[in-house]
């Protein structure tokens, strides 16, 4: 069995300390009783109480959640379609442009994506607000979904689909009975990625929004510009807690599935 070497222990400790100490400090100070963020004045949950009294903050959270759910779901459908088109259709007219448009938003600075979408909404005189943010989020997150799903499709054994067709299954039925169930984990993680990207986005939403729709990142940003506020620490802690729990639960579930699968496989080889 391999052990940690001292070098590895040091580099891991320093690295993870760097990654986690700032977040840890933020979390600890969200329980600070005093308003001054730098001075510790004892434990308190008063800032959490204030968060739940702040209607603006709650509204912003609700808008963010709605945008995230709608845009992640639509983006997952569109992104999966795009991935299938790229992985399966071979050469089709305009393929280069298509894959270019799918990959470009992944590396394009958010300021440009945001600016260009806003100019579109202005040009067609579209009322800006909840829907424009959602449209913008669908557009940039579907590209991430497409990449995640496509990477699963690359390792997909095409003969599974051929076998289904050989046994009398039509192409559409083959997709729903064979392909989709098998790529489902990738589709789910694509959705999760799209959802978190949407929750997290400040820049694109700031461009795409109009009066009346403020997302949580926008609210946090406008408060933060005025300096550190303890309520914001509390909000951030809540967001971190929710996301961390979701991610950890998801990864434990997949891990458990894997372990069970491995166990079953070993049993099969012992018995077969």
């Amino acid at each position: 069995m391999r052990r940690f070497s001292w070098f590895n222990v040091v580099s891991l400790t320093l690295g993870f300390a760097f990654l986690y100490i700032p977040i840890l400090i933020l979390v600890i100070y969200s329980f600070n009783a005093g308003r001054n963020v730098a001075v510790w004045q004892g434990w308190s949950v008063r800032w959490y109480v204030e968060v739940f009294d702040d209607q603006q903050l709650l509204d912003a959270a609700w808008v963010t959640l709605k945008v995230g759910l709608v845009s992640a779901s639509v983006a997952t459908v569109l992104g999966t379609m795009a991935a299938l088109a790229m992985a399966r259709l071979g050469r089709f007219p305009g393929r280069l442009l298509f894959s270019g448009m799918i990959y470009a938003p992944l590396v394009m600075p958010e300021v440009i994506t945001g600016l260009s979408l806003l100019l579109l909404f202005v040009a067609v005189d579209f009322d800006r607000g909840f829907w424009t943010i959602t449209l913008a989020h669908i557009t940039f997150t579907m590209c991430f979904v497409a990449v995640v799903v496509q990477s699963r499709l690359v390792g997909f054994d095409r003969s599974l689909e051929e076998a289904a067709m050989d046994l009398g299954c039509r192409p559409t039925a083959t997709f729903f009975r064979i392909t989709l169930p098998i790529i489902w984990p990738a589709v789910v993680s694509g959705w999760m990625l799209a959802f978190t990207l949407s929750l997290d986005d400040l820049v694109i939403a700031s461009f795409a929004t109009g009066p009346g729709a403020t997302t949580l990142p926008m609210k946090i940003y406008s408060d933060v510009r005025l300096g550190v506020k303890p309520e914001i620490n509390a909000v951030c802690t809540l967001v971190i807690a929710i996301i961390s729990i979701a991610v950890i639960v998801a990864s434990i579930l997949t891990k458990r599935q894997e372990v069970e699968r491995e166990k079953a496989e070993r049993a099969a080889f012992a018995g077969g």
Binding site: F4, L12, I112, S116, L202, V228
Partner: protein, 300 residues
């Protein structure tokens, strides 16, 4: 019959996302290009329409205004923003490499049972909000913040050092926020490395360090390249970090674009900045793609 049906299915499959991307990606982009060529007016929207009809187009072609692009070259704020964005992105990428490599190496050489957990620990911050992670540093870097409190109480310095609103803070922010993007490709290239290679190198007379330098490091170069580009490209266009952590002396192009747009309401100038920034990024992206294709070929 059935072939026809499947053909229409294929058409829909590619057609719907294609149409979406045309409308919400390409068209907006063309609008940006168009506005960057028009002149600024004090109105809503704050730009003069460039082309109203096709016949108009012909007449206008001769008189497109490259005024905004000329300004990019002439006004020092733009040139400075571009150069300092590139420099900040580049140097923070290099610094990050020195932090990320030992971390990725430590993860890849950790006992196998630990690796998924360590990997998870690197990915977790990526899932939590970017904005929050940047925000976390404000409290630490402030004049009366924790870092200064620590430095003063340890008597490293007598007076608090100004971190916030300096370039130092921007570097810290970029390195902190993008570290996972650098660690992950490095880890994956180090982790899949065959350990018998190192044993073979040592068997042939290499010391551990030589084995690292002559075997491990060269084999991890694809990861180094991938990580560097994953960090460099978004860092060039970064807005949140220079805005929250940097001061007025830190000009980065993403921030300049934002200010041009929201504060000065100069849409044509912002558009010209956007187009130029994109062209500036195309070159490294093409290099990155080529490097990846090469790495894939080499891996085959």
């Amino acid at each position: 019959m059935s072939t026809e049906k499947s053909r229409s299915g294929r058409f829909l499959l590619v057609g719907i996302p294609y149409a979406w991307m045309l409308v919400f990606f390409l068209v907006p982009f063309l609008i940006v290009a168009k506005i960057s060529l028009s002149t600024s007016v004090m109105a809503l929207p704050p730009y003069a329409p460039v082309v109203e009809s096709l016949t108009d187009l012909w007449r206008k072609i001769g008189e497109f205004s490259f005024f905004n692009y000329l300004r990019l070259v002439q006004e020092s704020i733009y040139v400075e923003s571009y150069l300092s964005s590139l420099w900040i992105a580049f140097s923070s990428t290099v610094i990050m490499l020195f932090i990320a490599y030992p971390l990725a190496y430590g993860m890849a050489r950790a006992p196998k049972a630990w690796r998924p957990t360590l990997l998870m620990l690197v990915i977790l911050p990526f899932w939590t909000s970017f904005l929050i992670r940047v925000y976390a540093w404000i409290g630490i870097l402030a004049d009366e913040g924790l870092l200064n409190w620590l430095l003063v109480s340890l008597r490293v310095v007598d007076e608090p050092i100004t971190f916030l609103a300096t370039q130092r803070a921007v570097y810290i922010g970029i390195i902190y926020s993008y570290l996972p993007f650098m660690v992950l490709p490095l880890y994956s290239s180090l982790e899949k490395m065959d350990e018998t290679l190192l044993e073979a190198a040592q068997d042939l007379g290499c010391t551990s360090f030589q084995a690292f330098w002559r075997v491990t490091f060269p084999l991890s170069i694809p990861g180094v390249i991938a990580g560097s580009f994953l960090v460099f490209i978004p860092a060039v266009g970064e807005f949140v970090i220079p805005d929250l952590l940097g001061g007025s002396d830190t000009v980065m192009i993403g921030k300049t674009l934002w200010e041009e747009f929201f504060n000065n309401r100069d849409w044509p100038a912002a558009s010209a900045v956007a187009i130029t920034l994109l062209l500036l990024l195309v070159v490294p992206i093409v290099i990155f793609q080529n490097a990846q294709a090469k790495a894939q070929e080499a891996g085959r």
